[in-house]
Every structure is written in structure tokens, then in C-alpha cells.
Chain length 431, copies 2
């Protein structure tokens, strides 16, 4: 029985209790939201040693970190190390996007060693297997793709990115649109190439019932991917993107009927004034399904700083309804991240998520800021560091520049406004 | 004759021509905006070797970097170095916030050596002189403050932060409000302490005509400071903040009548859902005066990353009407920044400003992103690096991880979506 099936029957599962307690929300309310499909409880029944992750409206905004090899950087130990760093930096989930080396080995080690909800993009492995068998991506057999889905589901992968909305119709819209950057999704580019070469419909769409069946067996959450997400500011919110979203909305309905949980993936590169619209139209077209966004990046011109461009977009997106932020590292558009860059990416995404949680009314969010600012007012430096989103960095920065008087910092030194005002107000209150 | 005086007489000055050409706007339109006080042309007549800086609606969003000594870190050469780094990182303006060492020497060297518009907070020097003369800040003589204003204006300082709205009435509101973090503005804390101890009105308010007279002589722009800006999320948009803003609105009107240019300084720490309101109320209460914001920081809990918390707030603020962003460095709330941190702060603020310019319709903004994404689509790496907001960092990151095939990057290696799609679409077009 999937979580959604149980929820529809009004049965509060232990997973619901765990998430409700962790999120400080009522278990009955949560059960009701899971039944409607507005919250996903992401966890594969076969994934041991990991707590289910609640994603959706009314819960804390979650953060995902991508790791994984590429044909240019294929070191298993490095990827495990990145996964550990992401865990320490308090990501809520991981995606393994490996496309080189022994994909099964990498994935199984992560599933075993890293206690985090894990997502994959199964078409990567299908493409890699096809290439390893000596064919180009156009020679991929749909059976290979479904074999991969079945194997990964059995192994315990918690959520799958499946680009089911990249249909022949969507491609037609894309061609008529005339885009600056056509398709920047890797999975989307594989599918598109295959579809054009074979003149066939996307098997993830034409055989969606098969996808549902596999997902249902282990309660894998489907993260319906946006193969046509805009890869540039110029392409944001265009007809190709919205066509794909329309189809994802229909598939969401079918998945709910089959008691399979779904999330919807979203853009991408989006200018500031289109973010609200993007959040609203996704929530409407997909009946309030959880929204998982990559960025959005609010400008194209800042490679080296795309953790910042995406923190800007992610904070705004989450405050307008996005539920799950995929991190972007400083080296997006330039190279595969190293462990330090993974850490930086997680922190930037967590900041964006928390800034949104402050205005979403998420339990505990406002209280955290209040506690920090109380410590600041009281010049309690130990408490400030303890309450920092990254205590390690805050402590290191403070240590690197010790003030003469311990109660201030070197920014203002003797002329610390807070210290002066505390003295002034205390004096004035004692009058 | 000040720029505003000339503008009111319909005279298009050489400064207006310079700014109009630089901003790709019409000189007549600009002249009209300067006459109304909706754009400030910031430049002291005595400041040689520097172009005037246009700040206000319809122009590119500008960025300011703060440098300056504190009693804990008082090395003149280091501050000059930071000013140079900020210039190289393409800040639009500098503020010298020095409070230790030979303040006059530091300021004059910056004015002479760094070709950037320079602002100061004159009460800092007045406070330092008072302390050097053996008194506490409560012993500051108003004459000392006005002497400083006169001297700095003569030397060529382009804009003054003057906390003229921190009046006895504002302090009354502050007391009745009951804040978490009372006053976090350094200048504000000096004035408040002085006012409470001496039971006197703020001389920058009671003698505002004198302030105007000094500013007018050299066309110094007054940046009306927000001594009561919120220093925590909990204190945002409270009665104390808005009381001060009301007074700044009245003073804006008086300054315009006296042909003195003003900008208004704004918060501070502001949650995401109050930023639009803050921008709108400032523009209304101060009759569309240029708005110069510090941050705003959208959460209190991220010391070590406040360049990011403020880039989030700054981008949203600028897209909603802020005209000038004061940078915040990664070590805000922890220590005085070093040169690297200054650079990081400028870049984060420039990203926020540009993300806003994309949606403000600023000439050239959309074109920059389009050119970058064209280069990306064409896998033209030299062009991508050249067009990056920080070509040095982009080049270094790319160089640190060379791919086997030069046309891709190590993120996706052989499985580069753009490369595959270019091939697929080319193939499909050739069919």
C-alpha cells in the first residue's frame, strides 16, 4: 500500500507520524494533504535507514543537492565525499546524476552509506548502457529504460526524475516557438534526440501506465521532469515550457488516480518578474502538486556565482509556493563541482529556503531569527555562532579577526552601535 | 548653480549629457527628472577626475561598496587597497566609513587616487574628534559636526549620509514600539545617545537649513539616513521606522525647494513579503526620491553569507523600485571585511542590481543576457567568459577542470545537452 493509498483510506501511517512530528504539523492534516496529492511523503519502501521526506505546501521548504560522476570526472570516492559534505551541510535530499563509471555501484554505496532521501534520473543509466553496448543514444531500447526503472526502484531509490511531458506535441511547440537555448535538460536532450531519430513518441509518456506500475510497487515518488525548462532568460515562460507543464498536469491526475505520488519539476532561468506567475501556473495546472524547482536563476550572466543567482530566484519562488529547491553550485555552467562547491551550494539553497519559510509561516522559522537577533542584541557571540546556519564558517570568520574588546567585533570596534545603545537605553531606563 | 537648479531652469548641463549618454537615455528627459528630484546626479563640484553618477528611476541600478578603518583595524594602506579592489570589481560608488586613524588623510587619498563617487557619514568624524578631545560622544558640539560637514564638502565628498530624521519624535516612537534590536545604525546610535544625554533635538534636524546651505554650495547630495532602520526581521516595517521615513519625506520636500539633491536610505533587515511594501511606501512618502537600500537582508541567521541574504533582498528591492544598493559582505555581523570579501560583496550586489535591471527595462540589460546565452548555445567558451560578470573567476573555474573535449565542460562531459541538441536539431533541419 502506498502512502497515498493509505491516506485516501484515512489510515495514518508511521511515516506520516514521523513527518508530522518533525514538521510540527498535525498528522491528520498531513494525511489529508497526502491523500489529495498536495504533499508527497518521499521514501522508497526498500530504502533502509532513512526517514521519509515531506514535500509540499505547509511544510518546511526542502533542499536537494546533486552529486554524480561525468565522463570527464569519474571518481567514485569523490562523489561519496561530496554526498557526505552535502549531508553535513544539512541538505534534505540528494540526487545521484552519475553518467560514468559503475553507476550501480555508486548508487548502491550512496543508498547504503548516506542516510538521505535519494533521487535519480533513470534515463541517464539507460543512455549510458546503450552507449556502453556500442550504440548512440538514438539506439536506446525502451525496454532498457524500463529495466533501469525496475532495478533502481528495487534497490531503494526514493524518487525518479522522469521527463514524461516531453512529447511529440511538446517538441512541435518547441519548434514553432524558436528558442534561443533549445533544450538544456540532459534527460530532455536524450529523449528529444531519440524521438526525432526514431520518429516515435516518448516511451515515458506512451507507456506512462508502466511507469506508474513500477513506481507504485515500492512507492517511488515520480518527479515529473521539465525537459523543456528554459535555459536562458530569453526563453522563460514560453509556449514550449507551458505545453510541457499542461501535459504534466494531466499526468499528475493519472498518477493520483493510480495512488502514485508525484512532484513537478520547474524552471530554470526565469527573470524576477515572472517567478510568481510560474509558481501560480504550476500550482493551478497541476492541482497543487508539490513543486520542485531548479533555481530559478534570475540572470544568465553570472557563471561563478550561480549559487547566488539561484538563491535569489529560489527564495522568491519558495515564498510564492515552491516546496523543494534544487541547489545550484558556484560552478554551474562551468564544471562539475568539488566538495567545497557542493557545500557552498547547499548553504545558499538553505538560506533561500529559510528566507521563504519566514514568510510562509513555517513553524519555527520566525523563532530562529528572533533567537539570533536576541543574541546579537545581547552581544552573546557564542550564541550567535551556535545559531548561525553555518556555525563553522561564522566561527572561523570571527576568529580570523579578534577584536580588542570581546563583546564587539572589528567592524565597528569601540563604536559598536548595539553596545552604545544598550548602555544609553539602560541609562535612560534607570533615570 | 546646483544640478537641480539648472534642471529647473531647463538647462542641460554637461553632467546631464555625460550621464544621459552613459545610461542611453534622453538628456531632456533626464533633466526633467533631476528637476523633479526623482534622479540625483551625484557629484561634488570640487571632486576632480570623476564622472557624475546618476541615481534614480529609469537608470541602471547602482552599487555602493563601504570601506574604512575601525578602532580594531586601522591600516590606511589596507583601506586604499580595498577601494582599489572595489573599483576593479566595478562598484559604482564608495563610502568611506573610517572611524580610526587620520580620517582626513584616508579620505583625501581616496578622493585623489580612486576615481569613484565618494560618500561619507560626517557624524563619524565628529564623534571621533570629540573622543580624541577627551570627551564621550554625549559631549559632541553641534559646531564640530557642522565644521566636519563644511570641511568634507570643500574637500570634494560627493554625498553625505545625514540621519536628519532621527528626531525626538522618532525616538518617542521607538520607545513606545519596544524593539528587539533597538538601533543598529552607527550614526543613529551616536545621535540617539547625544540626544538622550543632552535632552536636545538632533542638530541635523533642528539646523537642517544649515545642512542644506553647506550641501548646496558644492552640490553635495544628501543621503537622508535611516538611523532607525530595522536590525532584525522582527523589527522590520515598524512604527519607529515609518515615523523616521515620514520626517525624511518632509525634509526631501524642503531640500528640493532649496535645490539640494537628496536620496533616501532604507532598510535593513526585511522579510521577503515586506520588501515591495517598503519600496512603495518610500517612493510615495518621499515623492519618488531615489532610494538607497542597505540589503535588505531577508533573514538574520546567516552570518558568513550575508552577501547572499542581501543579494536576495536587494534584487527584489531593486526590481520593486530601489535605485542604489549598498553592498553587504560575507562577514557582515562578524568582522571588518578584507579585500577578498569586499570583492565578493561587490559582485553579489552587482548580480542583484542586474537581475533587477532585467525587469526594470534598463537599456542593455536584456541584451547582455541574450549575448551570454547565445555564446552558451554556440559552446563559445571564450565569449562566455568575456561576457561573465566576473571574467576572472569564470576563467579560473573553467581552467581548474579542463574537459577532454574542448567544446563542453566537465559537468556533463560527453553527455552535454546543448551539444547533443545542436546536433539533433541541425540533423533534423537538414532532413
Amino acid at each position: 500500500m502506498t502512502q497515498m493509498e493509505a491516506a485516501k483510506a484515512g489510515r495514518i501511517t508511521s511515516e506520516m507520524k514521523t513527518v508530522a512530528s518533525y514538521e510540527s504539523v498535525g498528522a491528520e492534516w498531513l494525511c489529508n494533504q497526502v491523500a489529495k496529492g498536495e504533499i508527497a511523503l518521499v521514501k522508497n519502501e526498500n530504502h533502509q535507514g532513512v526517514a521519509p521526506l515531506g514535500v509540499g505546501g505547509g511544510l518546511r521548504t526542502k533542499v536537494n543537492a546533486n552529486i554524480g560522476t561525468s565522463t570527464d570526472a569519474s571518481d567514485l570516492e569523490q562523489e561519496i565525499e561530496k554526498a557526505r559534505v552535502a549531508l553535513e551541510a544539512k541538505t534534505d535530499a540528494l540526487m545521484d546524476l552519475s553518467t560514468a563509471g559503475d553507476l550501480g555501484l555508486i548508487r548502491r554505496r550512496i543508498l547504503r552509506e548516506i542516510p538521505l532521501i535519494l533521487g535519480t534520473v533513470p534515463i541517464y543509466e539507460a543512455a549510458v548502457r546503450t552507449v556502453q553496448d556500442g550504440g548512440g543514444i538514438i539506439h536506446m531500447k525502451p525496454e532498457t529504460l524500463f529495466d533501469v526503472l525496475i532495478q533502481q526502484a528495487e534497490e531503494g531509490v526514493d524518487f525518479f526524475t522522469v521527463h514524461c511531458g516531453l512529447t511529440l506535441q511538446s517538441l512541435e511547440r518547441l519548434k514553432k516557438q524558436g528558442r534561443l537555448t533549445n533544450v538544456v535538460s540532459r534527460g530532455g536532450s536524450f529523449l528529444m534526440t531519440w524521438m526525432i531519430a526514431n520518429e516515435k513518441e516518448n516511451p515515458l509518456y506512451s507507456e506512462f501506465d508502466h511507469v506508474l506500475e513500477i513506481a507504485k510497487k515500492y512507492d517511488v515518488t515520480l518527479s515529473l521532469g521539465d525537459g523543456l525548462r528554459p535555459g536562458s532568460i530569453a526563453d522563460a515562460t514560453d509556449r514550449a515550457q507551458i505545453q510541457e507543464l499542461l501535459i504534466l498536469g494531466e499526468l499528475t491526475q493519472r498518477a493520483r488516480e493510480a495512488n502514485v505520488q508525484v512532484m513537478i519539476e520547474g524552471p530554470g532561468h526565469v527573470p524576477l518578474d515572472q517567478i510568481r506567475t510560474n509558481m501560480q501556473i504550476q500550482k493551478k495546472l497541476c492541482q497543487n502538486a508539490p513543486f520542485y524547482v531548479l533555481g530559478p536563476l534570475v540572470t544568465d550572466i553570472a557563471p561563478g556565482y550561480d549559487h547566488i543567482t539561484s538563491a535569489i530566484g529560489g527564495a522568491l519562488a519558495a515564498s510564492e509556493g515552491a516546496d523543494f529547491l534544487c541547489y545550484v553550485t558556484p560552478c554551474e555552467h562551468l564544471k562539475l563541482p568539488n566538495a567545497d562547491e557542493v557545500r557552498e551550494g547547499v548553504m545558499a539553497a538553505r538560506i533561500a529556503a529559510h528566507a521563504a519559510d519566514l514568510v510562509k509561516g513555517v513553524p519555527g522559522a520566525v523563532e530562529w531569527d528572533y533567537a539570533m537577533s536576541s543574541a546579537r542584541r545581547n552581544l552573546d557571540w557564542n550564541k550567535q555562532i551556535e545559531l548561525s546556519i553555518d556555525p563553522v564558517r561564522a566561527a572561523a570568520l570571527r576568529k580570523s579577526a579578534a577584536p580588542k574588546e570581546e563583546d564587539v567585533c572589528t567592524m565597528c570596534g569601540d563604536f559598536c552601535a548595539i553596545k552604545l545603545v544598550n548602555q544609553t537605553l539602560l541609562g535612560s531606563e534607570n533615570e
